[in-house]
């Protein structure tokens, strides 16, 4: 797993390095859009795990008590929206990066 992550990270860095236009003043690697994309990837990973946990709990609740499906679904959607909002903040910040 660690090896895979390291390889993936090196590939990402390599792509970002090759994407530089020759002649243009090269910005540092860890600034600007690249950093925004990495931040968005980290935020999306955390959001995926959190939303997965939320949906698992909601599914278990509905399976145990199908009469409460409506209430559980509403609450789950609200919770998912609140979790998602954190990624949306990072996305807006990534939009704001020039």
């Amino acid at each position: 797993m660690k090896k895979f992550l390291t390889t993936a990270f090196l590939f990402t860095v390599a792509v970002a390095a090759f994407a530089q236009v020759p002649g243009a003043p090269a910005p540092g690697l860890f600034e600007g859009k690249f950093l925004a994309h990495i931040a968005l990837a980290i935020a999306a990973a955390g959001c995926g795990m959190a939303q997965g946990k939320a949906v698992v709990a909601a599914c278990e609740g509905i399976a145990r008590n199908p009469q409460a499906a409506g209430n559980i679904r509403t609450t789950m959607i609200i919770g998912l929206a609140l979790i998602e909002a954190l990624v949306i903040y990072v996305l807006v910040a990534a939009f704001a990066v020039k």
Binding site: T74, I77, I78, A81, E84, A85, I88, Y89, L91, V92, F95
Partner: protein
């Protein structure tokens, strides 16, 4: 007997939906808050779905629109909170249940109150604008079949985000006008 037409049926369903939503969350006089919540719902829903028509863009993909909606909701629930409890009591209930902690609680609660504007508006804006960016990127990669499921996802997300927006507005209103027992 006159049979209601499809337009009337749709409108009755929408009004009934918003009334159920508000009366499930607000204990006293829920019908007072239905007009604004319903209007916001229709406005946000239409603005979200306009983005699916080729050549048109979503109104809510512009931050000024969602900020305006969030400001309207903010002013509305603070006004109703002050009308229900009186200005002093409404501002005082941010101090928390224990009186000697007010110097800690009050600034935090006021900060939280104002950050609701930001979170409420950024959530809608980021979802719709991000959806458009993703659809645009996929359209650039493969313009023929691939964007179709994404457009359906946009339809679904537009509905969900509208529901979340008016649901949060309802929760804010219910929190502002609730009586502690």
């Amino acid at each position: 007997m006159r049979v209601p037409g499809p337009l009337q049926q749709t409108m009755e369903y929408l009004v009934g939906f918003v009334r159920t939503l508000v009366s499930d969350n607000v204990a006293h006089h829920p019908d007072r808050y239905v007009p604004l919540i319903g209007t916001l719902g229709v406005f946000v829903l239409l603005n979200n779905l306009f983005g699916l028509i080729p050549g048109l863009g979503s109104g809510t993909a512009n931050y000024n629109v969602t900020l305006g909606c969030a400001l309207v909701v903010f002013l509305y629930y603070n006004f109703h909170g002050m009308r229900e409890h009186g200005v002093g009591k409404y501002l005082g209930h941010f101090a928390g249940p224990v009186w000697f902690l007010w110097i800690l609680m009050w600034p935090l609660e006021i900060l939280g109150l104002f950050s609701r504007i930001l979170s409420h508006s950024l959530r809608l804006f980021g979802n719709i604008a991000g959806e458009h960016v993703v659809t645009g990127i996929f359209f650039g990669l493969a313009p023929l079949v691939v964007p179709v499921p994404l457009a359906f996802m946009g339809l679904f997300f537009g509905l969900i985000q509208t529901f979340v927006f008016i649901m949060l507005a309802t929760i804010y209103v219910s929190g502002a006008v609730a009586h502690e027992h």
